[in-house]
Amino acid sequence: MRHVTLYLGAGLIGVIVAMAVVGTFWTPYPPDAVVGPGLQPPSAEHWLGTDGLGGDIFSRLLSGARICLLIGIGSVVAAAVVGVPVGIFSGMVRGWVGEIPARLSDILYGFPALLLAILFAAALGGSTWTATMAIALASIPAFVRIARAATLQVMSQGYIEAARVSGTPRTAVAARHVLPNIAPAVGVQLSVSVGLAILAEAGLSYLGLGSGPETPTWGRMLREAQTYVFSAPQLALWPGLAIAVATLGFNLLGDGLRDLLDPRLREIR
């Protein structure tokens, strides 16, 4: 079957999106309240059991999906909005003026993304907002790099020279010629970055640098499960599984899109 990774990725993301949509309007119990005795096994009342404080795990999992997608997608879109124009500029302008943003972004790239996010969140205190900003900042260099590389490739095409011959201003060249032709590469990067961002958000929440206690994120659920890791290991299973599904889904989608859109890979098949 062709495009297996694409469909599998889309399917996994579909599960997470469905959870987020359902969780926005309905959860079996309030996700942030004590609804029964702690550490109950799965039952008819509590489908996935209850956590150490007596919260309903299924409800918390559902409502965590929305936060996970909001932070993951929001931070990556913000990073792309900054990184893509910088990358296009850097790819279109010859000489050292074009080199500078690329080198600056390489320096930023040199820091492990999670470490950067931790530094940022630690400096400003943990909250949903700082976690989003931190992950966005850490995601920018990947967009600068991919946009610049794709732009350099587009700039060698004949239609760029044709546009120059007809006197098209550079901003119009960027908007009409460069952006539409680098869009596939940027789209792939968007998907891959969202996967990484979800993982980073879980990491930050786990470290207590993400959203506050009132927001049940998957990373926070993992952190709370840690206390009972020997007595009730299943508590870590569900949020861990959810994080894995979301991250894997976006990564597979990114890989699938790359295979679909890259003509060189298509020829090989």
Partner: protein, 257 residues
């Protein structure tokens, strides 16, 4: 009246740290309505000459004049007079047409540049102009919303021609306009090019390695070898009685095919 002139133009590249001379001390001028062929083998510098004339490249030394004005030190956005008076048909339409744009936008793009935008202000009139330009190269208005990949190679090059003609230039530079096309459509595209050039009394600079093409379209020919002009004159004179051994070699090579 001289449209474009190269004066003592030199182009030097650095290739792997060593200077490589692509063009040395070339003097060349195109007059209004004149049809000139630039012939030479690959790497002879003929395409570099064409690129200099359109300001796509800057000379390492010497000068490029358009309507008597030097364009060498002008920033790109102040070369409006050049953009309005000269345009180009590139070798490979697969590369010179943006795959993500419709014919309407590809052919209409020159009209949106600041130089020409004043001529046709309303976008409805722009569509009219695009339809007319496409019509003049034998492509109907029903094709305006097609993408380049939906066309044949010959059609694509005719679209490129429509784009070059829509700005109503004085000079058309064509760089190997048919060498990327199927042999079966070459004659058709060349005849169309010849007809447009005659009808609009355009000046034409035709870069080609194919002497038959130059004989068909041009009155004057310039032979380039290793970055220098080795011979020039009327097509009849040069091709019948070549003075330079390189020209004779080119002619022999063509005949033996």
């Amino acid at each position: 009246m001289t449209l474009v002139e190269l004066r003592g133009a030199e182009v030097t590249y650095r290739r792997a740290g060593h200077p490589f001379v692509a063009l040395r001390d070339v003097d060349f001028a195109v007059d209004k309505g004149e049809r000139v062929g630039i012939v030479g083998g690959s790497g002879s510098g003929k395409t570099t000459m064409a690129r200099l004339m359109l300001g796509l490249q800057a000379p390492s030394a010497g000068d490029v004049l358009v309507h008597g004005r030097s364009i060498v030190d002008l920033p790109e956005r102040r070369r409006g007079f050049l953009r309005a008076s000269a345009s180009m048909v590139f070798q490979d339409p697969n590369s010179s047409l943006n795959p993500r744009m419709r014919l309407r936008d590809i052919v209409g793009e020159p009209l949106r540049s600041p130089v020409l935008a004043g001529r046709i202000a309303v976008s409805g009139r722009r569509d009219e102009a695009v339809a007319e330009a496409l019509g003049s190269v034998g492509i109907g208005p029903e094709m305006m919303d097609r993408f380049p990949h939906e066309l044949s190679g010959g059609q694509r090059q005719r679209v490129a021609m429509a784009r070059a003609l829509i700005s109503d230039p004085d000079l058309l530079v064509a760089d190997e306009p048919v060498s990327a096309l199927d042999v079966s459509v070459r004659a058709q595209v060349l005849n169309l090019l010849a007809a447009e050039v005659r009808e609009r009394s355009l000046a034409l600079v035709l870069v080609s390695h194919d002497l038959a093409v130059v004989r068909h379209l041009c009155e004057r020919v310039v032979v380039v070898n290793e970055g220098a002009i080795v011979e020039q004159g009327s097509v009849a004179e040069v091709l019948e009685h070549p003075q330079h051994p390189y020209t004779a070699e080119l002619i022999d090579a063509t005949l033996s095919l």
